[in-house]
């Protein structure tokens, strides 16, 4: 049904961003936390509209913006992600010299970009969403203005991101030239009909895939990712590791799954993607093994997880992909929020040595981090195990046995570095006294919610899985 209501979630978020930014400019008080609550309210309102639009298949702009159940599911994921990031940033901003108003406004705008990306099947709109997201995230990663590493992260992200954006534009031009339209379906019709794509169109599609791989941080286009994830403020890192990844994968999924069922296409792009997936998993996990900073280690682990997620795309396994993304949101945000908790005014403890003896000094934090790390490594009964199990078994079911074996091997490697942190926390004597400031209720709320999500989805995933299956049954 074509109605203006299809824009409601998007408009709420953008309007919230404008209000927050203007309030920040006009605000006299030093305490900026109310801005965070306003931003959270905007996200909650957007969430309300998402629930109201469920099952109603709204669209607008002549079908260029579609709220089908797949995109609504992902938008709900982004709303939760945005809430987590805002809550993490409330106290973090003041402690680490970050402007909370700008932070909240930019997070909302970036979430709007993500929403646009996943809810469109028109290339131009996807491109615009991607750029809204990118421009906001360049600014977000450089938000600690006095910090050298933060601005370095912003510069690197900006340079590589705009480079990838240019690839996207040129790829779009080629696709437009061969299919005469920027609708996914026209391209798909050409690709699926067996005639195959014109060579120029295939090159264009390759350029677009490369640009999306930059955003998702898939090898060999992942070089920027560890530096950016490490240098960006921790709440922003959570956003960058989950948001662009989920949106990029959703676009890939919408685009590729119909094409990969087609023989000549699958031969070229399918094998290229499989190679990239294997490369990503091993590059991420092997590099993570030798990191001395937990934040950088988690950054590499995030690259490895993109590899597992690509496996789900190759297998065309939508439910597993979405389930993995949801679980990844909880366990990754959880791990990073424990990292954000390890801080006090002007200082963040991210080195592995700072975690030595944490189990004795802060038993609760250490226990939570252990659960998140075990989930990231894929131990039962946490949700991470189930997510990996569904993705890998889906790959085997679709006949990608070698890929599944490689993924299992890669996740065995990953166990080593996740366990290393746990060993440091419980079995090492603490050397430095990393005194942390525990006055941070919003952050503890995030940790609790993530813990709840990881355990709940690990033990009783049935409801969510049923919802996801129902959502994807219609579209694909």
């Amino acid at each position: 049904m074509t109605t203006f209501m299809a824009l409601a979630p998007l408009l709420t978020v953008v309007f919230g961003a404008l209000v927050v930014l203007l309030l920040e400019a006009f605000m006299k008080r030093a305490n900026r936390e109310p801005l965070g609550y306003v931003a959270a309210l905007a996200l909650l309102a957007a969430g309300f509209f998402v629930i109201r639009s469920w099952n109603r298949d709204l669209d607008y702009f002549g079908g260029r913006l579609v709220l089908d159940r797949f995109s609504l599911l992902l938008i709900a994921l982004f709303v939760i992600l945005g809430l987590f990031v805002l809550l993490m940033g409330l106290k973090y901003a003041a402690r680490q010299g970050m402007n909370l108003g700008e932070f909240c406004g930019l997070v909302l705008l970036a979430v709007a970009g993500l929403m646009i990306m996943v809810s469109s099947t028109d290339w131009l709109v996807v491109f615009l969403g991607l750029e809204v997201l990118s421009v906001a995230s360049y600014a977000l990663s450089g938000l600690k203005k006095t910090d050298r590493t933060s601005s370095e992260a912003a510069a690197k992200y900006f340079l590589m991101g705009s480079f990838a954006g240019a690839f996207f534009v040129f790829g779009l031009a080629l696709v437009f030239g061969t299919s005469g339209s920027l609708d996914f379906s026209t391209l798909l019709a050409g690709g699926v009909s067996g005639a195959g794509l014109a060579p120029a169109g295939a090159v264009g599609l390759g350029l677009i895939l490369a640009a999306l791989s930059f955003k998702i941080a898939i090898a060999p286009f992942h070089m920027w990712a560890p530096d950016v994830y490490e240098g960006a403020p921790t709440p922003v890192t959570v956003f960058l590791t989950v948001g662009p990844k989920a949106a990029g994968l959703a676009v890939l999924f919408r685009l590729l799954v119909p094409l990969l069922r087609n023989e000549p296409f699958a031969a070229v792009f399918g094998s290229a993607l499989s190679l990239m997936a294997v490369l990503t998993m091993f590059a991420g996990n092997l590099a993570a093994l030798r990191q001395r900073s937990v934040k950088r280690m988690l950054a590499y682990s995030s690259i490895a997880h993109s590899g597992y997620l690509i496996v789900a795309v190759i297998a065309g396994d939508g439910p597993s992909l979405v389930f993995y993304l949801v679980v990844y949101l909880f366990m990754n945000a959880g791990a990073f929020s424990v990292l954000a908790a390890m801080s006090r005014k002007g200082v963040e403890y991210t080195a592995l040595d700072d975690f030595a003896g944490l189990g004795r000094r802060y038993p609760w934090l250490a226990a939570c981090l252990s659960v998140f790390l075990l989930s990231l490594a894929g131990f039962p009964p946490t949700a991470g195990f189930l997510a990996k199990f569904y993705v890998f078994s889906g790959a085997v079911r679709e006949g990608h046995v070698a890929l599944a074996v490689a993924a299992v091997l890669a996740s065995l490697i990953s166990v080593a570095y996740y366990l290393k942190v746990i060993v440091f926390m419980y079995m090492k004597e603490d050397q430095g006294e990393a005194a942390i400031d525990q006055e941070n209720p919003a952050l503890y709320l995030v940790i609790f919610l993530c813990l709840f999500g990881v355990v709940q989805l690990g033990l009783w995933p049935g409801n969510l899985l049923a919802l996801i299956r129902q959502a994807l049954s219609a579209a694909f």
Binding site: L18, L21, L22, A25, F26
Partner: protein, 114 residues
């Protein structure tokens, strides 16, 4: 032909009237800045590549944004009759958001030099 002559006459007269009014009403206090042929802040004669003031840079960024957004006006001008009120409303919203951004930049002190 008559039309052309008439318009030259009318506009020429108008220009002459304005210059005369300006001459009669304007205060005359010459100072070095006013004597320059180009009164926009930068001296007319200087090395080609020199240091530029940072406030200039910020204003330039703002100008770049506002200048380029005008690009959206051209398609609407072409399609104005087809789109009618809806197109105007969409463009109005767009300008409103731009204006809010302008207010934000103003309030943030982008025009406060030094």
């Amino acid at each position: 032909m008559l039309e052309l002559t008439l318009s030259f006459l009318v506009f020429g007269l108008l220009a002459a009237v304005m210059i005369v009014i300006n001459y009669l009403l304007g205060p005359r206090k010459p100072n070095p800045a006013r004597e320059k042929p180009f009164e926009c802040g930068s001296p007319p004669l200087q090395a080609g590549i020199g240091p530029v003031n940072i406030p200039f840079f910020l204003v330039a960024l703002l100008f770049l944004l506002l200048d380029v957004e005008i690009a959206f006006f051209y398609p609407l001008a072409l399609a104005f009759r087809d789109r009618g009120f809806g197109g105007l409303a969409a463009l109005g919203t767009f300008i409103l958001v731009l204006a809010l951004g302008f207010v934000y930049a103003w309030k943030k002190g982008i025009f406060r030099w030094s």
